[in-house]
């Protein structure tokens, strides 16, 4: 149980590490443009990445439910 918790904490730390803002130097959107644009870029990236997974996953789940 304790080991589990430690691993979770490690995973959270690993997930957060890449997001440390720093001063994003090579980033045109977050340096020159406003942070809103950068947020929208990130948001649409996440949406576009997750959408096919939800669509295909949803279809697979629905078909599986129909069968069983």
């Amino acid at each position: 149980m304790r080991a589990m918790k430690f691993r979770n904490r490690l995973l959270v730390a690993a997930a957060v590490f890449p997001l440390i803002p720093g001063t994003a130097w090579a980033c045109p959107a977050c340096m020159v443009g406003d942070p809103k644009t950068a947020g929208i870029y990130l948001g649409s990236t996440l949406v576009m990445s997750a959408l096919p997974l939800f669509l295909v996953g949803g279809l697979a789940y629905w078909l599986w439910r129909r069968h069983s």
Binding site: A29, G33, D34, K36, T37, I40, Y41, S44, V47, M48, L51, P52, L55, V56, L59, L63, R66, H67
Partner: protein, 200 residues
Amino acid sequence: MNSPATLPESRLTLPAQAGAKHLPNSVLGMIIFIIAEIMFFAALMSAHTIARSSALGGLWPPPGQPRLPVERTAINTGVLLLSGVLLWLGNRYMSTTPKVGRRYVAGAIVSGITFVSMQGVEWVALLREGLTQTASTYGAFFYLIVGAHALHAVVAIVALTWVYVLMCLGRRLPAMFAATQIFWYFVVIVWPVIYLRVYL
């Protein structure tokens, strides 16, 4: 090696065939096709969102460009949604009283055609006001997204009309009717999203 591997169990009795539960080919094919279509529109919408957010000075629509007719299109959106509802009702009645069902389908087709022609009228007006593809990404995205949707709507109406005519001639096409319906529902459902993002 020491512990013998489990041998394949004898399956001389076949598992119950789920054939009856299978979705018809055309319905399944249409659903998979719709997944690709959703991704297509999602890409257009996300491109539009990015262009909108990075517009110069945060001014969207750009100064000097005509405004889109928000109210008239709201009514038009209602017409399209109505068409979806009519088609759904048509489907419900189709198995019990095909005559009533066909009437609803006809209503759905008519309101679909109304939607597309009203859009056409709107385009002509906007072009006259000077909203063009080349002036800015505002106009370009408007014509691209709305045009892509209109193209889908036209194709769907043609398909629906064709199925409707065949059904009036007495053919029974449940699978094909279902597939066409799915396509039309897709066209109907994607429109409010476009309306919210592009017009408002």
